[in-house]
Assembly symmetry: C2
């Protein structure tokens, strides 16, 4: 294990090189950055065998180390997955370039022409776990938005990450961009993560990608700004005015389409005046979902087993759903304000006034009316690939794609104006 | 002095009340929030005598405590200053409401109507020093943008702040908005500042307003996101193509109009090929400015005394200027990248290509061509009053006014869409 000082020195050196590369990237023409990603995609395809060989070393080590089947699945690559990774990188090249976009412009009374222009953030640190595809996905989005990136993947994926990283660097260099624009922390030492979190001024933004304990550690320790997604405790509120069939379809999709994603519904709130609460619960149960409700909820034909108080604050990420009967939209909003995580919440209602009340009052990153919470996704929102879904309140909220990886500067063009 | 736990409990209680008030404020109609500020402005005018009496207690205590003349000046109010404070609050009422503005809208191929809408941030903490006017200025901007605010002013201004706060609360209540929307930390205990900085989840954003040591402490300790302005080490680069008379006017204004503001020029960079460097230096000296340059700069007719290496990293906030001769625009950009603080930097040039190169490559919050750095100001940018000038890279950069005190949420209106 490296001494903490060695990690600090390592990250400081990488940060300085990244800063230099960021300057080149920010002023490179859009076409050059896009070309680098297309070259990288081709390099990934070409090195598929090398990547798979490296990955098989990681997988073998992981098996020896007794990793769970789920972790091994996240770690394991095959030819199809490498192809998908390369296609993902190429797709990012096709996204619209945010850098240089004019957010607003005005000519001041004194003649000063003032514009606000999108620029890259600078140096972004990505801290992630066992999925090697993050190496390519995250790097592609950062580079497309003109940022240099420092990647720190999971120890268990280090060989795979090195092979993927080599292909990305190959692409950068083919396009005449600096290799330092995408750097992989070469050590699996945990102290390197601490050094990244402390690298205020060297790294402009940290994005953790992984499980709750990783994100919590990053949020607790970081001296660098963090863009993170913690929980997705999402609600669907079925109002009395909801069409029962629409409610059934949305509830089933929100919970059961994929139970392990952050946009999945975890709690179903049913208006006490809704015509058929039992139908919704039965539909979930028939789809293989365990349904839990508090004693009040036992009135739903006694088909719900009691919920523990902790259930209302639990992100199951599984075929489990908590259900509460509530007295109208304001009680639903109060439940969400108390137990929600500010990710995605939805109302099913025919009454437009009630729906608009919910959309205005529900203080989550994404609020939906008559649509499944599983739409919480950058691609579904038309943003292309996303780097994550942010549950904080500043800079970027909800799906974060290229625009969220930029900031802006003010550009003023004058003709000798002084304030006098 | 309160025990740290007592401070934590105090801030937790205030934070919970602020969260409740923020919900009411966010959903209050624009006219109600504006009306509250107009009522507050009238209440401030009406309580002018009470405020001045409270202020005279603070000033007397400050004199006894041996505060510097500069600190006493920042602390002292008179009838004209109270009038200006009230007028400032009324002016914020007239600003365009950012809440509810649609940033963008799209209908997805599946028919989901998606909009991104500006919403308040929530609960904002302001930590400031001896100027009592910040109590009113900061609260007005926060409330206008729909946020609740927790104010923690300087110990030396506590009586003045209480009197101003009472008038603000009076205005809120007259307009039917909750008093808890604007709360003043009742204790002068420094542990309360620590409790605010640690109040992750209770306070959404901390804005420090004051000197470098306050801002540095806030940035070092905060677990809550911070929007801050540290240094304004601003440069004016006079390119070889600059019109000498325009350069003279801009340099003089940038340095000498007001030397103590964060937008003041601190370092003058002169292109070695500029026709008359000595003229610029002499103009500054004749205006009463001390000019320092490194040994190379002694070539400017030997009218510059040597600079210490630390000079290039110094925010004088005084009639002192460092001057360096540089070899063209890229050398100027390199100097700024090394020594600048990312606040405001300007180029004076007739050559448009060189100027656009500078505007594109200079990585500061505000970059100007042929205009004085002293334009770095929210009002000059047409934003109305500003809460500060941010030198960080995320969320908001440069002058931060109402828009910077908001965030956004995604609102989707569907007709039963599921991802399936």
């Amino acid at each position: 294990m490296l001494a903490p000082e060695a990690s600090t020195t390592l990250i400081a050196r990488m940060g300085a090189r990244a800063r230099g590369a960021a300057g080149v990237l920010a002023s490179a023409p859009d076409a050059r950055r896009a070309e680098a990603l297309r070259c990288a995609a081709r390099a990934l395809s070409k090195s598929s065998e090398t990547i798979l060989a490296a990955n098989s070393i990681d997988v073998a080590r992981g098996q020896d180390a007794g990793l769970s089947a789920a972790m091994l699945d996240r770690l394991r690559l095959d030819a199809a997955r490498v192809k998908a990774i390369a296609a993902g990188v190429a797709a990012v090249a096709d996204l619209v370039d945010p850098v240089g976009q004019v957010i607003d412009a005005a000519t001041r009374p004194n003649g000063l022409e003032l514009t606000r222009v999108r620029v890259p953030i600078g140096v972004i640190g990505i801290i992630y776990e066992s999925r090697p595809n993050v190496t390519a996905d995250a790097a592609a989005l950062c580079v497309r938005a003109g940022n240099a990136v420092i990647l720190r993947g999971g120890t268990e994926a280090i060989e795979s990450n090195r092979a993927i990283h080599a292909a990305l660097v190959d692409g950068l260099m083919q396009a005449g961009l600096p290799a330092d624009a995408v750097q992989l922390v070469p050590t699996t030492d945990r102290a390197a993560v601490g050094a990244m979190l402390a690298a205020d001024g060297l790294i402009d933004l940290i994005i953790p990608r992984g499980g709750k304990s990783l994100v919590a550690r990053v949020q607790a320790e970081a001296r660098v700004p963090v863009l993170a997604h913690l929980d997705g405790i999402n609600h669907v509120f079925v109002h009395a005015s909801a069409d029962p069939e629409m409610a059934r379809r949305i509830v089933l999709d929100a919970k059961m389409r994929r139970t392990g994603i952050c946009g999945a519904m975890e709690t179903l709130l049913i208006d006490r005046d809704f015509v058929d609460p039992a139908m919704l619960v039965e539909a979930l149960q028939q789809a293989g979902c365990e349904v839990r409700g508090d004693p009040i909820e036992a009135s739903i034909g006694e088909i719900v087993k009691p919920a523990d108080p902790a259930d209302w604050d639990t992100e199951y990420l599984d075929a489990i759903c908590s259900v509460a009967l509530v007295d109208g939209v304001d009680a639903a909003l109060a439940h969400i304000a108390r137990h929600g995580s500010g990710h995605t919440d939805a109302i099913v209602a025919a009454d437009e006034r009630v729906a608009e009340h919910f959309l205005a009052r529900c203080d989550s990153a994404i609020v939906l009316w008559n649509a499944s919470t599983q739409f919480a996704d950058g691609a579904e929102f038309g943003l292309g690939a996303e780097i994550g879904i942010a549950t904080g309140r500043l800079h970027a909220r909800g799906p974060v794609a290229l625009e969220g990886l930029t900031t802006y500067k003010w550009v003023g063009r004058g003709s000798g104006q002084v304030r006098g």
